[in-house]
Assembly symmetry: C2
Homo-oligomer: 217 residues x 2
């Protein structure tokens, strides 16, 4: 029992170290040696857990996913599903230093996923989880009369996923995009796809207090 | 003169080889040796032109940009700026095998741009060119009464750029997104931002024949 706990703990430590190294130095800086050094262990200790750079990358992605799961689940529990959707998408945006680091990691993950089937499989799982979170909230918004009933929730979710990824690229690489502009892109796509609330007034009247507060129309 | 022409030609040959190597094998496979081999020269011949992997990557990006410039300029010259905009965005989508290869290259370029200031500078130039192309067409569409006059063309261009990048990621990495769905995302964002034509009927009547043909409303 104790040994298993130690094993899991050590693995997480290496995963966290790998996340730091990749966020800071990119794929170029990702070596087993550097990850071990960052974690304060020998390369030999690391290779007991991971045999390749891709395995280290995957463990780092699991660690990163774990870290965002709790804040994401918190925002999902708001009374208004539409408001929760907006806040969920905001949590993924590169509006903070920490999230910019996560995006640098994420771009490295993309690069490897385009070439390694092993990394690609894990990335597809991550995207499935992410898309499902979004689609579930859209469906809940539909049930609550906060989204157009005829909307294809899965397709709208993929469009939102694409927009968030594109914003990540814009911010990290292609120049500046201030946080308010990032949020405005999200708000406006939600407005367009879900419709202006209340969208089904007759069937399920939406009280003013339950509507998401938006900066502008 | 002849020597200069040879020099330029040889440089392009290496750039094309680098583009192939990166599209096929990613950053992991990008070595000066492999690029030289792909081009049919010695590593020594290559290092006469490029001193680092980042320089090779930049040359490959210039070669790729050159190749898309001609088809892009062709679609831009259509009579309807709005239709030209739609077709311009379509040329960038990963709907063909060649374009999927380009997107794999582009993701590698992002990854390095997030860490190398030299690569980042070049990438920003590429995005400036790409955004300006889009913004110019939006402004032309506004002049022609095919887009809402109050629209911020630069902001709308950045939103379209973000969506195209996000589609690229979806297709390459996060699973399948068929060509019609890709185009539908583009069409629908154009429709939303530019407004349903004719958008300024009183000021500049838009003839039916000049309107972009869309599959569905």
């Amino acid at each position: 029992m104790a040994r298993q706990a130690d094993h899991t703990e050590r693995r997480r430590l290496f995963a966290a170290a790998a996340l730091s190294v990749i966020s800071r130095d990119g794929l170029e800086g990702l070596t087993l040696r550097e990850v071990a050094r960052e974690a304060g262990f020998t390369t030999g200790a690391l290779t007991h857990y991971f045999q390749s750079k891709d395995e280290v990358l995957i463990a780092a992605s699991e660690f990163a996913a774990e870290q965002v799961r709790t804040p994401m689940e918190e925002v999902e529990h708001g009374a208004s599903a539409r408001d929760a959707l907006r806040r969920l998408l905001y949590t993924a945006l590169p509006t903070t230093t920490v999230m910019k680091g996560r995006w640098r990691f994420w771009v490295a993950f993309w690069e490897r996923a385009a070439h390694s089937p092993q990394v690609n499989r894990v990335m597809q799982e991550r995207y499935r989880e992410w898309s499902n979170r979004i689609a579930s909230l859209i469906r809940r918004a539909q049930d609550q009369g906060e989204a157009l009933p005829g909307l294809d929730a899965d397709l709208a979710a993929r469009e939102l996923v694409a927009l968030v990824d594109g914003i990540g690229v814009q911010v990290l690489i292609a120049g500046k995009l201030a946080a308010p502009a990032q949020r405005q892109f999200i708000d406006s796509l939600i407005e367009v796809r879900l419709g202006s609330p209340p969208v089904r007034a007759a069937a399920a009247p939406v009280k003013a207090g339950r509507r998401p507060a938006r900066a502008s129309a």
